[in-house]
Symmetry: C2
Subunit: 242 residues, 2 copies
């Protein structure tokens, strides 16, 4: 009998813990549910030609200015940042608007984590909006996986971990898992009941913060599974539909 | 009607995240269930005059040599470290053995976190062995609280978070809690069923690691609530019974 060792799956709960994980040759999933990775997934599924993630508003403006058929987007404190054209809501990017365009997007947490990952075989974008196709993709790659939560200014957050738990639960038979963060994420997912995510997340820091900006509809959209079945992948400096 | 603001309770899941929290004036609970804080609690409740926590084996030997009526203890990789006298098991320190003595103890994760905390009003030692008295103590202090998980080489671990969740659940009505790590710890505690902790922890990294050293009985002891009702507090360089 030949025993084939399964690849490893781990969960990193904060960018401040990323150095503890070996991402070399692994598939790293960037998770920033509210709302960077949800918006990237929606925009690409709706036909954006690519998304260029950048760290600062100044970069966003500069790259937008030099990129044909592009638009700049990003928020600070729940409002479109000064000098940018659009916000960070997946609902702002229907096909009628975004098809064929390049979205230059600045976000605080998701972009930062994405730029921190080195040596990965592949960096993909995960959100509830593409939950099932991301899980299928991870299983098909047969490589080590790190689920990376963007968190909030390095502090643990509930919604990113909930998604990591949903993925862990779905793919667990295909991976070797000896990671307490993955176990805990799975327990959290089970605690949520696995369906009414927005109700579960109403008691969370981010829900409190973003509902003060009137973004309840946005958040409900962001936690709806499989609305946008695409696997966004980083290629060079851009994210493209896989 | 006068509204009195409740003090804040937060949970820090790893020493690598400690810098994100303001510990000034707060009561910080150091949590290292397997096994530093369990052993400290047991030794002090059984009559040790104090515990001196140190980072390295060399310090442990030096301080032990210069401290009357002391004994040195610490493990590396599940065995008594070379040059030390005893191990890191709460079961090694019954009253008949430890009463009136100073325990000079070196541990990797718990000691490190303890030495990292600055400006706290108070540093106390938490474990399942003193769960209820620690909760009562935190409520009585009426100060901000940070529950600090020692984790394992900065990686999230299940047993420390489980304890943080047990405390959060017990004291939540007395604190203002807007911390996703605290919410998550509470969900984890609820997932455990709140009683058979060792069964719940059998699927955890630390259980796997320590059971390979034959330490199942030790771990079961460490997660038994309220066997040693004492609140160990840091005073200078020593931990004393509160």
């Amino acid at each position: 009998m030949i025993t084939v060792e399964k690849p490893k799956l781990e969960v990193c709960l904060s960018p401040a813990l990323l150095h503890l994980y070996d991402t070399k040759g692994a598939v790293v999933v960037i998770i920033d549910i509210f709302r960077a990775t949800s918006t990237i997934t929606a925009a690409l599924h709706n036909g954006a030609s690519k998304v260029i993630p950048v760290a600062t508003v100044a970069e966003c403006i500069a790259i937008g200015a030099s990129t044909p058929n592009s638009l700049t987007a990003g928020e600070r404190d729940g409002k479109v940042a000064d000098g940018l054209q659009h916000g960070n809501s997946p609902l702002e990017y229907p096909a009628s608007f975004i098809k064929g365009k390049t979205l230059v997007l600045t976000t605080t947490n998701g972009t930062r984590l994405l730029h921190m990952v080195k040596d990965a075989a592949e960096i993909v974008i995960g959100s509830f909006l593409n939950l099932t196709v991301v899980c299928d993709y991870l299983i098909a790659q047969n490589k080590n996986v790190l689920l990376g939560c963007a968190s909030w200014k390095d502090k643990y957050n509930l919604e990113d971990t909930l998604f990591a738990g949903a993925v862990t639960d779905a793919v667990q038979n295909h991976f070797s898992i000896n990671c307490d963060a993955a176990r805990s994420a799975k327990h959290l997912y089970k605690s949520s009941g696995g369906s009414n995510f927005i109700e579960f997340l109403k008691d969370s820091s981010h829900y409190n913060r973003l509902s003060a900006f009137g973004l309840e509809e946005d958040m409900a959209y962001c936690v709806t599974p499989d609305l946008h079945p695409v696997v966004p992948r980083l290629q060079g400096d851009s994210i493209i539909a896989g």
